[in-house]
Amino acid sequence: MLCQECRKEEANVFITKIINGKKTELQLCERCARAKEELDFSFEPQFSLHNLFGGMLDESMRGSRESLRLSKAQCPTCALTFAQFSQIGRLGCSDCFGAFGDKLQPLLRRIHGSARHTGKVPRRSQSKVRFKRELDRLKEELQQKVRHEEFEQAAELRDRIKALEKDLQEGGKS
């Protein structure tokens, strides 16, 4: 069997990768395998644009495929367009996230199953984020109490939410 890459040498390295249940098999000669870093155990995922965008566009946005490709969305800071991003698979700068916001959300959900960060927060933005997370939690609780018609507790929660929101507006500008 010949190496899939160079098609010259005999293939003697067989690599099977299983990522999210998707199996890929590679047959390479040792030189090509090394060139591809497959022997290095790099633990960075091999990001497959085709799968990601292909799947995303096929499933939920079939009709809007063309409109996404032609999308005029462009990052004001680094000038990367969404069309370019969907080819390269890399964002250009941190402002791209704001510029492509609506279009990125479904992609992130597809990769991670969620589009909302719940982990570590840098110290600089800690107090504000902690406030907001507490607020979200209280609001959810409030909904529950209302559903269960526990209005007394609901009223208490509502007051706490109001107070927190006031604090956030006054002190949360930092």
Binding site: N12, V13, I15, I18, R90, L91, S94, H112, H117, S125
Partner: protein
């Protein structure tokens, strides 16, 4: 080119919990500097600025960083960079493709901070055995320290912003490197690893001719970085790791009960080849090292220890071999040099006993 000393990294010391099945635990976080384009889009000036911001932040925290050495990729000979890759301290990308790429390396080589990799900043901790929590604490600590001096690109809802959408959120990648000879020998491994990929974990093994994974080394890492807190990501991988360890141990016990003599024979034969062969490919060396390792773990063989076996796992790689030989070698020459270096280390070890 002069012969150089091969320095051991902390992960090679063979200590740590469950070191008989887990070679190393690795954690890395990805961070970027707010307001500057990610490295692949950044200008020469901008990557230089990133380097200056991050090394500056480290320099200002002298006490915390006094055990670190700064290595600039442009100044480092290609071979030495490749040795760092083979020791799992930097990525191939940083070694070969970065602009103003740099490494802050802690003396014990357990913590490496990469500058201008795919992201501006990648903080990695790698420890021997199963120590995911400890590795996370190391990375987390240097992340906190650097954040004091670097304004990170962070968004409340999306988390830490990274060049690739697969890293967004926590920016956290955790991985465990297993040695799973018994699961592989008894052909249980594919079923097990197939199941892992269903729960959002990525599995990597290197296959040789046939179906055996070369060196019986398998790496498992998380895929999801967004929507789960760091502790949960680590807890998930730890939980799965415990199960894999238990299954490997059960398979080893079964093998030992059934064919103790055969296993011992296999290990001693591998040891004999490592000590006496004249020409050896890296694939063969990895397989033999695995056979010896299993024999050592099961108490069937003497004359080695885990530290030595870990060291040999790296020494047999191309760049490390050339570093030790003190000269450039092509593939055929490396196959001749490999047994020389293996023998030299085995003899040194014997003398120390």
């Amino acid at each position: 080119m002069k012969q150089a000393l091969f320095r051991l990294s902390r992960w090679m010391d063979g200590a740590g919990p469950d070191a008989d099945t887990v070679i190393s635990s690795r954690v890395r976080v990805a961070r970027n500097v707010r307001g500057l384009p990610f490295p692949y889009l950044a200008s020469d000036e901008q990557t230089a600025k990133v380097q200056q911001i991050i090394t500056g932040a480290a320099a200002e925290r002298k006490e915390a960083f006094n055990e670190f050495t700064l290595l600039l990729m442009e100044k480092l000979p290609p071979l030495e960079k490749q040795v760092l890759v083979e020791k799992h301290l930097i990525s191939p990308f940083l070694a070969r493709e970065s602009h103003h790429g740099a490494l802050l390396l802690r003396q014990d080589e357990a913590v490496s901070i990469m500058i201008n990799e795919e992201d501006h900043l990648r903080i990695q901790a790698i420890l021997p055995g199963l120590q995911l929590e400890e590795a996370w604490q190391e990375a987390d600590r240097y992340d906190d320290l650097l954040e004091e001096g670097v304004n990170y690109a962070f968004d409340e809802s999306t988390g830490y912003l990274t060049a690739c959408p697969t890293n967004v959120g926590t920016g956290l990648r955790v991985s465990v490197m297993f040695h799973l000879p018994a699961l592989i020998m008894t052909k249980q491994v594919n079923r097990l690893l197939g199941a892992l990929s269903q729960v959002g974990l990525a599995v990597r093994g290197i296959y040789g001719e046939g179906t055996e994974i070369i060196g019986n080394l398998v790496q498992v890492s998380n895929q999801i970085t967004l929507g789960q807190p760091e502790e949960e990501i680590i807890r998930n991988l730890s939980g799965v790791t415990r199960q894999i360890i238990a299954q490997e141990q059960a398979a080893r016990q079964a093998l030992l009960n059934d064919s103790r003599a055969r296993l011992a024979d296999r290990s001693w034969r591998a040891f004999g080849l490592l000590k006496n062969a004249q020409i050896m490919s890296s694939q063969e060396a990895m397989q033999l090292l695995s056979d010896v390792r299993l024999g050592f773990d099961l108490g069937l063989i003497k004359g080695v220890d885990r530290k030595l076996l870990n060291e040999l796992l790296v020494i047999i790689r191309p760049a490390s071999l050339q570093l030790l030989a003190g000269k450039e070698l092509n593939g055929d020459e490396r196959d001749l040099e490999r047994p020389v270096q293996i023998k030299r280390r085995l003899n040194q070890f014997k003398e120390q006993l």
